[in-house]
């Protein structure tokens, strides 16, 4: 063993030692330990002692570390110098230690030295070639040849010495390469790298004079054999004799996780953000690709996304991500080079890759990663697809029967099922059986084994398959025209999953001439659209910059305060006495600039609904596949802008509502056919600005809400108030019942929906944002769920009112009207509560003065103003002294003081610097109307 590099390491560690840095201390410790080991192997007792002293000094806090280390460095240098002067003979250094055995073997030693030198060179070449082979796909033949050459040379030289075990190993590796080349599989690089490592360590051992033993290689031989046989997994098991690099994921039997070191890496958060963006972009592109599989621009985009992820992941040493990205990228590469045509299998695989990649990113964030099994299965499937092999069985990761339709022709099983010769269930069983076999049989054989079919059946089915392949596909199912609404900025995304109609009559076994192209006029539009869209996409990509959201929020807050301060200056009564025109002009200028700045700052927080809608598009695809219903999804108004916080909060409710729409709202295809509706259900997501609020509608053309069913369930669950008369309830009151906790009319609970914990949470979340949920529905026609939300969470439109000396703010959304009552409208009830007649309604009056225990304020309603407030259908009147005006209010939290207060939801700072209390209308209305008997 050559001590020089080890000792150099020690010297370096000593020179760079920072006693306060634990890492640097650890480095030195390691280096010293290495040196000691080296000294041990050469039986250099003096050096051993020196190293021991050094290690002891490191442990000991008190000692003078520098002094000891200095001594060691000096001594070691001397030792090595002596060694090097007699290097060839490996003679003993000056302080006297046992002679190394290699001295006695004169001529053999020379031969060995020659071999070692040459082997090291060859090994270096070999390793380089292997690494290149792994990373690029360019000139694999040349690299492969290099690998073989190196291996062959080493083998030959091993034979000369002789070093029989090493020779055997090289021979096995050569065989592996030759076999691999014949079967068309890839080069099993990891195994070969292992061989490389082994040879390298063996040669080191020989150089240190230990020719007696051979390092253990039995396991390695087994690996090589395993890699060479047909059912080898593409990734052989990795024995880790040395501690695995920290980048290898901990496969704790279940999920992929990353080491602490990686999780604390500085650039990780940026990488996570970027990776997520790339995954989202890929998913969006995939959805479009489903509609237009020929669009190379989309394929390129996906390729680039995975390529970029691979790059940075490689830099961070995130092996699972690199593997996945690499295989996915290779597959996309095939597609964009035209080596394969994009079929459903490809799309499914890439979709799944996006999912698993997303899970890996979650693992980086500290969450749960994908299971090791899922990851390797996916990679294996990708590789099989790349290699052009027929898929072995069904990936558990993407689902079952729906992935049966492959690129051009139906799979054998599907044909048999379509012909009614096999049932779905049997087909499923056969696929599973095939997947578990080490040497998978052809699915036809397995089918025969079941005894349900005759060989003739199989032959006929195979014929059909061949014909379909030649003719470009099975007969198409009739497809309804995708609806394209008249006015829309963005192109609709029509998602048509291929849930197979399993009970269709068998197609005629004659050759089908040509797959009928879509005759609808929409088809041409759709063809033009990709080109247009591509152009539009390019211009729409504005330049962006990433900003820390904390800073953004701080800036927006500061601007808010500036507005208030500016208003306070502007409204200062002292200004009126100054009567300076110039001052007035300048102040007006300041006011204008402040207003503009305010608008600009507010808009910084605004984001579009586009990413949310895209998430929904993906969701629709998945849910519709699972539910077995075709869905046409139409997205409108995805460019509508919302405050960032609102967008985050509505995501979950929207998911829930869409799932409901597809799961419960839409009927099954057969039901729809029976009702004369289009086979695919239609779900529309529409977003728009209406009157200072954001309106999001989820519209489906399904069966609508069933009044009877809901009433029935409500009665059953006791959701109805005891004195309610079902027949007298209005429709909207009935629909309202579904928001009761624990309510659900789904007969069976699927994992998608039906657990009854959804709608009340949805409404609560929306109302938490000061929004509203409205339902409108028509039996047999469909339903519309409307979400009404304020533009931003922090600002509301409010009416400022005065009660005595105190100011309050009432959210405008809740106000129906305000008026000064006349005496005739007032009525006393039981001498206590007063009611006022408003438009044929008798509404109770509540004085804010009393509600908030003020000493001052008007008592007589006729002298004050009544404001009619509405909350979920309930109405009442609040009485105030005066209405001061309407303005946009920035909501300020009252902090701890406000937490316990009922009736007040926050504070606001008015233009004159005074504080107004924001009334929690919903809470108050409910409380007062319930309290009123």
């Amino acid at each position: 063993m050559d001590l020089r590099p080890i000792f150099d390491n020690v010297s370096k560690s000593i020179a760079f030692l920072d006693e306060t840095d634990s890492q640097s201390l650890a480095d030195l410790r390691t280096a010293l330990a290495e040196l000691r080991a080296g000294a041990e192997s050469r039986a250099l007792s003096g050096l051993i002692t020196a190293c021991d002293r050094g290690l002891a000094a490191l442990e000991d806090d008190d000692g003078d570390l520098t002094c000891v280390l200095g001594e060691i460095a000096a001594y070691g240098a001397e030792v090595l110098e002596a060694l090097e002067l007699d290097r060839a003979a490996e003679s003993v250094p000056v302080p006297g230690s046992a002679a190394s055995p290699a001295v006695d073997e004169g001529p053999e030693a020379e031969l060995l030295a020659l071999f070692i030198g040459s082997a090291n060179d060859n090994l270096a070449d070999l390793e380089e070639a292997l690494l290149e082979l792994e990373n690029t796909s360019e000139e694999p033949d040349e690299l492969l040849a290099q690998v073989k050459r190196s291996l062959h040379t080493i083998k030959g030289e091993c034979g000369v010495i002789p070093l029989p075990e090493a020779a055997r190993l090289c021979h096995a590796a050569e065989d592996l390469l030759d076999n691999g080349a014949q079967s068309g599989g890839g080069v099993p690089i990891p195994v070969l790298l292992e061989v490389c490592d082994w040879l390298s360590s063996y040669s080191h051992q020989l150089a240190s004079g230990d020719t007696a033993s051979v390092p253990p290689h039995a396991e390695l031989l087994d690996q090589i054999k395993a890699a060479g046989s047909a059912d080898a997994p593409s990734k052989p098991a990795v024995p880790a004799p040395v501690e695995a690099p920290s980048s290898a994921p901990a496969c704790s039997g279940e999920r992929i996780a990353f080491s602490q070191e990686i999780l604390e890496d500085e650039i990780l958060p940026d990488f996570i953000g970027e990776a997520r963006e790339h995954i989202e972009a890929s998913e969006a592109a995939l959805l479009e690709l489903e509609q237009s599989p020929e669009d190379t621009e989309l394929i390129n985009a996906i390729f680039r996304a995975f390529h970029t992820i691979k790059g940075v992941a490689g830099y961070l040493n995130l092996k699972p991500m690199v593997d996945l990205a690499h295989t996915a990228e290779t597959l996309m590469d095939q597609l964009r080079k035209g080596e394969a045509t994009c079929g459903k299998r490809h799309l499914d695989l890439i979709f799944t890759s996006c999912d698993v990649m997303g899970a890996l990113v979650s693992a980086l964030e500290g969450g749960e990663g994908p299971s090791v099994a899922a990851h390797s299965r996916l990679v294996a499937s990708l590789e099989r697809e790349i290699a052009g092999e027929a898929p072995v069985g069904v990936d558990d990761v993407s689902s079952d029967m729906s992935s049966m339709t492959s690129g051009n022709h139906r799979r054998l099983l599907e044909i048999l099922i379509d012909q009614g010769l096999l049932t779905e269930k049997v087909g499923q069983v056969l696929l599973e059986r095939q997947a578990t076999m080490t040497r998978p049989k052809h699915i036809g054989e397995l089918a025969l084994d079941t005894g349900l079919l005759t060989p003739a059946n199989i032959e006929a089915a195979l014929e059909i398959q061949k014909h379909e392949e030649q003719n470009g596909g099975p007969p198409p199912r009739p497809e309804p025209a995708p609806e394209i609404p008249a006015v829309e900025p963005a192109a609709p995304v029509a998602v048509q999953p291929e849930a197979p109609e399993v009970l269709r009559p068998a197609p005629a076994p004659e050759p089908i001439v040509e797959a009928i192209p879509k005759a609808q006029p929409q088809a041409e539009q759709t063809q033009d659209k990709p080109a247009e869209q591509a152009a539009a996409r390019k211009t729409r990509i504005a330049r962006t910059i990433k900003v820390n959201t904390g800073r953004l929020d701080a800036l927006v807050d500061l601007v808010g305060e500036l507005v208030i301060a500016q208003q306070m200056v502007y409204q200062d009564p002292a200004l009126e006495t100054l009567a300076s025109e110039r001052l007035t002009r300048n102040l007006a200028q300041v006011a204008k600039i402040t207003r503009d700045m305010h608008e600009a700052a507010m808009s910084l927080r605004m984001v579009t609904l586009k990413p949310t809608f895209q998430k929904m598009a993906r969701l629709v695809r998945d849910v519709s596949l699972k539910a077995g219903k075709g869905v046409d999804l139409v997205l409108t108004g995805e460019d509508t802008e919302l405050d960032r916080n609102v967008v985050e909060e509505i995501s979950d409710p929207m998911v829930h509502l869409i799932r409901n729409a597809i799961d419960h709202g839409l009927e099954t295809p057969s039901e729809r056919a029976a009702a004369g509706k289009s086979e695919n259900g239609r779900v529309e997501l529409r977003a728009s600005h209406q009157g200072g609020a954001i309106v999001i509608e989820i519209i489906d053309d399904g069966r609508g809400l069933s009044r009877d069913k809901i009433l029935g369930k409500a009665l059953e669950k006791g959701c109805l108030p005891p004195d309610a008369v079902p027949e007298e309830l209005s429709d909207s009151q009935v629909w309202d019942l579904i928001f009761q906790p624990g309510f659900s009319t789904a007969a069976s609970v699927s994992d998608i929906s039906g657990r009854g914990v959804g709608m009340d949470v949805v409404r609560r979340n929306i109302e938490k944002m000061r929004g509203k949920v409205e339902i409108s529905s028509q039996a047999g026609k469909g339903s519309i769920f409307t979400l009404r939300l304020p533009l931003t969470l922090a600002i509301i439109d409010g009416m400022v009112v005065r009660v005595g000396d105190q100011r309050y703010v009432l959210p405008t959304l809740s106000i129906e009207q305000s008026f000064r009552p006349k005496a005739e409208q007032m009525h006393g009830v039981m001498n206590e509560d007063e009611v006022v007649k408003v438009r044929d309604m008798l509404l109770p009056i509540h004085r804010l003065r009393d509600l908030f225990e003020q000493a001052d304020g008007e008592v007589d309603p006729v002298q004050g103003i009544l404001i009619v407030l509405e909350d979920n259908g309930e109405r009442c009147c609040f009485m105030v002294d005066e209405i001061l005006g309407q303005q946009q209010i920035v909501i300020k939290s009252l902090g701890e003081a406000g937490a316990g207060m009922s009736g007040i939801s926050g504070g606001a700072i008015l233009g004159d610097g005074r504080i107004a209390l924001i009334v929690d209308v919903d809470g108050l209305v409910t409380r007062t109307t319930q309290a009123a008997v």
Binding site: R807, K892, G895, E896, A897, G900, G913, I915, L917
Partner: protein
């Protein structure tokens, strides 16, 4: 109050070496109190107070502190002293409570006091435990009594978190110590 013994040299040295904590001394009526200087965010003059409904009487309401709304407590009333009119010298000491409030900042509360004196360093050795206090209701808020040599004063060190515990603002009336009858 037991008078302190005359310090001998050894004691003086020990006193000089020990860690000292800075306190802000203030006055309520004729009594002297102090709060930890590190907890004092700022000291401002009395502002317009917007009263809050249904609060204990010592919680006077909220004020606008440069765009941030913070609750204000009258410290005299909190400690059971009679209420007085606020003068030009009345100050509000804005204190940081433990725990996070909005925007990752501490929860802030303002305490109305009659007078603010200055910031003093008080060493641990000069602090006596509050067991000598006769008024047991206040004992819960006082962490110790410190002697200020130069002025010959004894200062009660206040426990801010106990004094301004936000949960007291839950609207319950009973928590304020009833006014002493003179």
């Amino acid at each position: 109050m037991k008078p302190q013994d005359q310090p001998n040299e050894a004691q003086t040295e020990a006193v000089q070496d020990e860690p000292k904590v800075r306190f802000l001394t203030l006055s309520l009526a004729e009594e002297h109190y102090a709060v930890e200087a590190l907890r004092v965010r700022e000291i401002i003059g009395i502002l317009d107070i917007t009263p809050l409904p249904k609060m204990p009487p010592h919680v006077r309401g909220v004020v606008n502190l440069r765009g941030r709304i913070i609750p204000i407590v009258d410290l005299r009333m909190r400690l059971g002293m009679p209420e007085v009119e606020y003068t030009a010298r009345t100050c509000v000491v804005v204190l940081e409570l433990s725990g996070k409030g909005e925007e990752d900042d501490h929860v802030l509360m303002g305490a109305i006091v009659d007078l603010v004196n200055d910031v003093r360093e008080i060493g641990a050795s000069t602090i006596a435990p509050p067991s000598v206090l006769k008024t047991s209701e206040r004992a819960g808020f006082v962490t110790g009594l410190a002697k200020l040599e130069e002025e010959g004063l004894v200062v009660s060190l206040l426990d801010i978190d106990a004094l301004l515990d936000p949960s007291q603002l839950s609207g319950r009336e009973a928590d304020a110590i009833p006014s002493e009858v003179a």
